[in-house]
C-alpha cells in the first residue's frame, strides 16, 4: 500500500461526513465575507484619500487667492495628511478603525488638531469589524473546536471506538491523522480567500506567504489543544464545554485581564488634558505681555531672535508664535502620552504570547501596517510635515518678506512615507 493510503482513506471518510463538510463550507464563506469586506473598506479608504487629495489642492488654491499676506495664507490654508492603507490592510484593519488616518491641518497649534477624528459609529466600535484578523483569531478556533471536540467521543458514542483501535492496532490511529486532515481542511478553507485577496490587492509575496504561515501556526495551536482535550474519556458535551472554556479564557478573559493590568501599571495622560493645556496656553497668550510669548518662542527658535520684537497690537508672527508656545506647553504631556501608549503596546505584545488570539491579531496587524506602531509613524509624519510648514512660513513671517503667491509653490508637500524608517 502507498504511504498516502491512510490519508486517502481518512479523506474519503471525511468528504462523506456532511456535518464536517458543512463546517468547512461555513468557514470558506465566512473567510470570503471577511476578505471581501476588508477589500471593500480599503477601497473606500483609498477612494476617500484620492477624493480628498483632489479637493485639498483646489480648496487651498481657492483660499490663497483671497489672501494678501503670509499670515492669512497660512491661516486659511488647510493641508491634507493621510495614511494610505497597505496592500494587506484588507486582512487586518487594526487601528484604522479606531485612530484617525487622515487630517486637514493648518499652521495653528498641532496638538489641538492631531487628535481630531471623524465621529465613529459607537456600535461598530463596540463589536469590532469582521475583518480576516478577527475571523481568524476568534471564529476559526470555534470552528476547530466544533469539528475536533468529538473526534473520539463520537466514535465512543457510536460504539466504534474499540473496533477502530482494534482494527488499526495502534491507539493513536486514526485520530491523529483525522485531526490533522480536519484542521488542514479548515486551514485551506480559511486561507484560500485570503490568498485570493492578496493577489487581488497586489500584496507582496513575502506578506502573502507570512500571513498563511502565521495562521497555520495558530491553527496548529488550537488543533493541538482540541486534540489533547478531545482524547479524554468524557462525553462530547463535557469536552465541548471544556474547550469553550479554554477559548473564553484565552480569547476573552486573558486579553481583558492583561489590558486591565497593563492599563493600571502604565498610566496614560488623558488626550483631553493635552488639548486643554494647549488651548489654555493659546487663549492665555492673548492677555499676556507679548514678550513673554516671544521669549518662550525664541528659546526654541533662536534663529528668529533678531525678529522677535512685536511693535503692533497684532502681528501674525506673534500669533503663530503663541500657537507654537501652546504646543510647547503641551509637549511634556503629549510626549508622555505617546511614550505611554507605546509602552503599553510593547507590554501588550509580550502579554500576547500568553493569549494566542491577541498574538495572531497583532501579528497580522503588523504585517498589514495597521498596528499602533504604524499609526504612531503616521502621527510622526504629520508632526514632521507640520514642522516643515512652520519652517516655511516662519521664513516669510519673521523677516517680514513681501507676500508672493508664486513663492507659495515652495510649500512643503505631504508625503505619507516621509518619516518612515
Amino acid at each position: 500500500m502507498s504511504g498516502f493510503a491512510p490519508v486517502f482513506r481518512e479523506a474519503g471518510l471525511l468528504k462523506r461526513d456532511r456535518a464536517f463538510i458543512g463546517w468547512v463550507v461555513l468557514t470558506l464563506l465566512l473567510s470570503v465575507v471577511s476578505v471581501v469586506g476588508g477589500i471593500a473598506e480599503v477601497s473606500k479608504q483609498r477612494e476617500t484619500i484620492a477624493r480628498l487629495i483632489e479637493g485639498d489642492r483646489e480648496d487651498r488654491l481657492e483660499a490663497r487667492a483671497k489672501q494678501g499676506d503670509w499670515g492669512g495664507a497660512a491661516y486659511y490654508s488647510f493641508h491634507l495628511t493621510y495614511d494610505p492603507p497597505s496592500n494587506f490592510a484588507f486582512a487586518a484593519l487594526g487601528t484604522r478603525d479606531q485612530e484617525p488616518w487622515k487630517h486637514r491641518i493648518r499652521m495653528l497649534a498641532l496638538e489641538g488638531q492631531i487628535y481630531e477624528r471623524d465621529a465613529g459609529n459607537p456600535v461598530l466600535a463596540l463589536t469590532g469589524r469582521f475583518d480576516f484578523a478577527f475571523f481568524a483569531a476568534f471564529v476559526l478556533p470555534l470552528v476547530l473546536i466544533a469539528v475536533l471536540h468529538d473526534l473520539q467521543a463520537s466514535e465512543r458514542g457510536a460504539g466504534r471506538h474499540e473496533l477502530l483501535i482494534a482494527t488499526s492496532g495502534i491507539s493513536s490511529s486514526p485520530w491523529r491523522l483525522r485531526a490533522w486532515l480536519k484542521a488542514g481542511a479548515v486551514f485551506i478553507a480559511a486561507a484560500l480567500p485570503l490568498l485570493v485577496g492578496c493577489i487581488v490587492s497586489g500584496t507582496s509575496m513575502t506578506r502573502s506567504l507570512m500571513a498563511p504561515a502565521i495562521l497555520c501556526g495558530y491553527l496548529a495551536f488550537w488543533s493541538f489543544v482540541s486534540y489533547r482535550i478531545a482524547r479524554r474519556e468524557r462525553n462530547p458535551s463535557v469536552i465541548l464545554a471544556t474547550l469553550l472554556g479554554v477559548w473564553v479564557m484565552v480569547g476573552v478573559v486573558g486579553p481583558a485581564a492583561g489590558k486591565l493590568v497593563i492599563d493600571h501599571q502604565v498610566p496614560v495622560p488623558q488626550g483631553a488634558d493635552i488639548l486643554m493645556t494647549q488651548r489654555e496656553a493659546v487663549n492665555d497668550a492673548w492677555d499676556l505681555p507679548k514678550e513673554v510669548t516671544m521669549d518662550a518662542f525664541v528659546a526654541r527658535h533662536p534663529e528668529w531672535s533678531q525678529y522677535a520684537a512685536v511693535d503692533r497690537p497684532f502681528e501674525w508672527k506673534w500669533y503663530y508664535a503663541f500657537q507654537q508656545v501652546g504646543d510647547q506647553k503641551a509637549e511634556p504631556l503629549s510626549l508622555a502620552y505617546r511614550e505611554s501608549r507605546l509602552h503599553r503596546d510593547r507590554l501588550a505584545g509580550w502579554f500576547a504570547w500568553l493569549t494566542p488570539p491577541a498574538l495572531l491579531q497583532r501579528s497580522l496587524q503588523r504585517i498589514a501596517d495597521t498596528d499602533l506602531r504604524a499609526h504612531m509613524e503616521y502621527e510622526a509624519n504629520v508632526r514632521l510635515f507640520h514642522g516643515q510648514l512652520r519652517e516655511f512660513y516662519y521664513g516669510k513671517l519673521f523677516p517680514d518678506a513681501p507676500f508672493d503667491t508664486d513663492a507659495l509653490g515652495g510649500l512643503p508637500e505631504f508625503d505619507p512615507g516621509m518619516a518612515a524608517p
Binding site: 500500500m1 493510503a5 462523506r16 474499540e162 482494534a166 482494527t167 492496532g169
Partner: protein, 242 residues
C-alpha cells in the same frame, strides 16, 4: 512454536474497573481451530475478558497471551492477529457495505479487492441489492453481517466475537453458526461471548461459564457431538459452582 497449540490464554486474569473487581482471577485457554464460548449473565465479565486480549484494559493481576506472547508487551501484534466483532457493531452509517469494508480493511493495513469483498458478503448472505445502500438503511442483522464479513476479510488467526448473534433472526443465527464452524475448521480460533445458552452449545467446542468475575465451570463437547444444552442451562441458572 506455540505452547500446546494455544492461541489465547488467560492466566489468573484480574481486572478492576471503576473501583470494582470485574475479573477475579480467571484462567482458560483456547486452542488453534477451537470455538470457545464464554457464557454468563449481565455483568459477569464476559466483554471485559475480550477487551483484555485486545489490550484495552490494565490488568490488576495475571496475564493475557495471544499466540503465546504477552498482550501487555506487544499490544499492536496482538490486535493485528485478531478480528474483533463488538456487540452491536456500529460501522459507518453514511457509507455503504463495500465502502465500510474498504475503510476498515485499509485501517487494518490491507487493501481489500472487490472480488474478495463480494465473496465475503456472499458468505454472510448479504443481499446483493443491499450492498450499495448506506448502512443507515440496514436492519441490525444486516449491519452485523457486514461486520462479520469484515472479520472474515481480515483473515486473522483469531476472532473475538462479542454477542455476535444479537439482533439476528433465527435463520441468520443458524447461518452464522455454520460460518463460525467453517472458520474453525479452517484453523481459526474463535472466542465468542454470549448469554445465549442454546446458541453457544450449538457452535462451541468448549464453554466457560462466567459468574461474577469468576470462571465457575467448563463444558466440553464429546468427540463428534455437541455440548449438553441441558447441563449448561442448569449450571447457568444455578448459583452453585459446577
Amino acid at each position: 512454536m506455540l505452547s500446546n497449540r494455544l492461541r489465547l490464554q488467560a492466566e489468573e486474569l484480574r481486572v478492576i474497573r471503576g473501583g470494582k473487581e470485574v475479573l477475579k482471577g480467571i484462567t482458560f485457554a483456547v486452542a488453534i481451530g477451537e470455538v470457545y464460548g464464554l457464557l454468563g449473565g449481565n455483568g459477569a465479565g464476559k466483554s471485559t475478558t475480550l477487551l483484555t486480549f485486545l489490550g484495552f484494559l490494565d490488568l490488576a493481576g495475571g496475564n493475557a497471551r495471544v499466540n503465546d506472547a504477552l498482550v501487555s508487551e506487544d499490544v499492536v501484534a496482538a490486535r493485528r492477529s485478531i478480528a474483533y466483532l463488538p456487540e452491536s457493531a456500529s460501522l459507518y452509517e453514511h457509507l455503504n457495505a463495500r465502502e465500510n469494508l474498504r475503510y476498515f480493511l485499509g485501517l487494518a493495513g490491507s487493501a481489500g479487492d472487490d472480488e474478495s469483498m463480494e465473496a465475503a458478503l456472499d458468505r454472510v448472505a448479504l443481499p446483493a441489492e443491499a450492498r450499495d445502500r448506506r448502512l443507515a438503511d440496514y436492519s441490525k442483522g444486516m449491519r452485523q453481517k457486514v461486520a462479520i464479513a469484515l472479520a472474515i476479510l481480515r483473515n486473522t488467526d483469531t476472532l473475538l466475537l462479542d454477542e455476535p448473534t444479537s439482533g439476528l433472526d433465527p435463520t441468520a443465527i443458524d447461518e452464522f453458526h455454520d460460518l463460525v464452524r467453517t472458520l474453525a475448521d479452517d484453523g481459526k480460533t474463535v472466542l465468542m461471548v454470549t448469554h445465549d445458552v442454546y446458541g453457544a452449545c450449538q457452535v462451541a467446542d468448549r464453554i466457560g461459564l462466567l459468574r461474577d468475575g469468576r470462571l465457575v465451570g467448563e463444558f466440553s463437547a464429546p468427540a463428534g457431538g455437541r455440548i449438553d444444552t441441558e447441563a449448561v442451562h442448569r449450571a447457568f441458572s444455578s448459583r452453585e459452582a459446577v
